[in-house]
């Protein structure tokens, strides 16, 4: 049985999945660049070229609904946004469509603290899938700019920004992954600060059902390591674990000779994961000080022959 009451997104609609945190003011912003057009000759050429690399049926399946939707909208440049709210275990909670459509140059700004209250959802940590009606119709299959997540915790403002994508992801029929390698060289475990990793078991398939079981290695500057299971992550769910949660309180002594700094390398076979890095205060409040998404390091090596 589907976790969603109706189809939550079409394959060509870019999606961005992000966490909300109970007790924090959480805001999502997105500014549509003034230059944005849903389609132009360059985009269309790239789209057709990319699609023709697949078989004919896949090409038709990809292109017809998207171009049909564009034609039905009267080639409108305006974008619409829907939000699907899930528990951190990937269970569906609610959906909401923003009442307005937004033209190039305009910005979306959603206060989730207020929205979750309006939707009468209990005060909990959630995952949200933001779906935009279309994005760049080229090989990137992405939003035309980055979404901005702002988390305000007491007088700390933590922000991360990244794009939405309409590419196949953890969807066996379309895209099988060898695995995930997440590298975080910004780990801190000191008297004042403790780093966390949040891994998101995302997918382009609303019916995705694979549970992820990552493992993490903590590496300090002299090469000494600790290795532990990260813990399981349900499909379309997320899990935040501090380095103390993963490796135990001995992590402070382990990293003390190196200023509390280290790197984690987290791996998971068969699926790819979204990865966020959080810096939190090492006190009872665990104030969110900073947040950033990780980038796939292997992409940097694309220019090297035979790697």
């Amino acid at each position: 049985m589907s976790r969603f009451p109706s189809s939550p997104w079409r394959p060509y609609e870019p999606r961005f999945i992000f966490p909300t945190f109970s007790g924090l003011e959480c805001r999502m912003g997105f500014s549509i660049p003034a230059w944005y057009r849903p389609v132009d000759i360059k985009y269309l050429r790239s789209l057709v070229a990319g699609s023709l690399r697949k078989n004919f049926l896949e090409t038709v399946k990809d292109l017809v609904p998207e171009l049909g939707s564009l034609a039905m909208s009267g080639l409108s440049k305006n974008l619409r946004f829907r939000l699907h709210i899930l528990s951190r275990d990937g269970e569906y909670r609610a959906s909401y469509e923003l009442p307005l459509s937004y033209k190039p140059g305009a910005s979306v700004d959603v206060d989730f603290t207020k929205l979750l209250k309006d939707l009468k959802l209990p005060v909990e940590d959630y995952l949200v899938v933001a779906v935009m009606s279309r994005g760049r119709m080229d090989g990137y299959r992405s939003s035309p700019a980055s979404f901005s997540m702002t988390y305000i915790d007491q007088d700390n403002v933590a922000i991360y920004r990244t794009g939405a994508f309409a590419r196949p992801l953890n969807e066996g029929r379309l895209k099988a992954h060898v695995g995930f390698t997440g590298i975080n060289p910004k780990i801190i475990a000191t008297r004042d600060v403790v780093s966390s990793l949040m891994l998101i078991n995302h997918s382009s398939d609303p019916e995705y059902a694979v549970t992820a079981h990552p493992a993490s290695i903590l590496i300090r500057e002299d090469g000494e390591q600790l290795e532990r299971e990260f813990g399981e992550i349900p499909a379309l769910g997320a899990r935040e674990m501090s380095v103390v949660d993963i490796f135990g309180s001995r992590v402070f002594d382990f990293l003390k000779p190196f200023g509390g700094r280290a790197t984690t390398v987290t791996t998971c076979q068969g699926v790819t994961l979204g990865s966020l890095h959080l810096q939190r205060s090492n006190d009872n409040h665990r104030t969110l000080l900073g947040i950033e998404h990780s980038r796939p390091a292997h992409m940097n090596l694309a220019g090297i022959l035979q790697h």
Binding site: V108, D109, A145, T263, L289, A297
Partner: protein
């Protein structure tokens, strides 16, 4: 120092350093961190070297550092040890120690992070942004939302990652309402190659508070030539500094 590499040479060899904002002063300290991912993805040749160049706001080089990284090696560099009073740029490249062949017309980019430590235990962080460019490049409009209630504490950092001698960054800034209405527009100060400029919203648009009015949020847009992805920032009266790329 033996083993020193010029930034031009790194670009020529196909390993353009990636650029981030650099700030070391009485409020903020910048640390650069990276892991030798060659040891994961090129297991036969795991050795690499990290090269770091520091520039002031006018694009003058103020520091250089390099470190050999072996299997699972990492860099945790406090840049204030190299350049203690600076608002400029940091550029870093990871290069394999063996002669890896770079595909014709391609380059090898570098992934790393900077962490900015400020008062009262605040930390903000960013992954690397654009690689150094040998030639001038146009910048399409970068635009992001800001919280209006922090307008007085907000601003932008603009970075010029172009290395060309005639590659100054020039452009315009716009203050934009959420519905897309341009409330104000102005020319940006010129930024020298490899330089940076940190400007508060009120220095850019002294009338911003009145123009934004009672809206919860507003946006700022930056476009021109040789402007890398800008960084929005909030710097509060207590010295807490929060920064992030657009």
């Amino acid at each position: 120092m033996s083993g020193d590499l010029t930034i031009d040479e790194a670009v020529t060899r196909g390993y353009p350093p990636a650029v981030l904002y650099l700030r070391n002063d009485e409020i903020v300290t910048t640390e650069v961190c990276a892991f030798n991912y060659f040891s994961i993805f090129l297991k036969e040749h795991p050795e690499a070297a990290a090269h770091v160049w520091l520039f002031d706001g006018a694009g003058n080089q103020t520091g250089y550092f390099h470190k050999d990284l072996g299997l699972n090696g990492q860099l945790q560099l406090n840049t204030s040890d190299l350049s203690s009073n600076v608002s400029g740029t940091v550029a870093m490249t990871l290069m394999p120690k063996h002669e890896a062949k770079v595909r014709s017309g391609k380059k090898v980019t570098t992934g790393y992070y900077a962490q900015y430590y400020s008062r009262h235990g605040a930390i903000t962080l960013s992954h690397e942004r654009e690689p150094v460019a040998a030639e001038s490049f146009p910048t399409s409009a970068w635009v992001q939302t800001y919280l209006a209630r922090f307008l007085e504490w907000s601003g932008v950092v603009l970075v010029n990652p172009c290395l060309a001698l005639d590659g100054a960054a020039v452009g315009t800034a716009a203050l934009v309402a959420l519905d897309g209405t341009v409330l104000a527009e102005r020319t940006l100060p010129r930024i020298s190659p490899m330089g940076a400029c940190r400007i508060s919203t009120l220095d850019l648009f002294p009338d911003a508070r009145r123009l934004v009015g009672h809206a919860d949020s507003f946006a700022m847009e930056f476009k021109g030539t040789n402007i890398a992805s800008p960084f929005s920032y909030y710097e509060f009266a207590n010295g807490k500094f929060s920064l992030h790329h657009f």
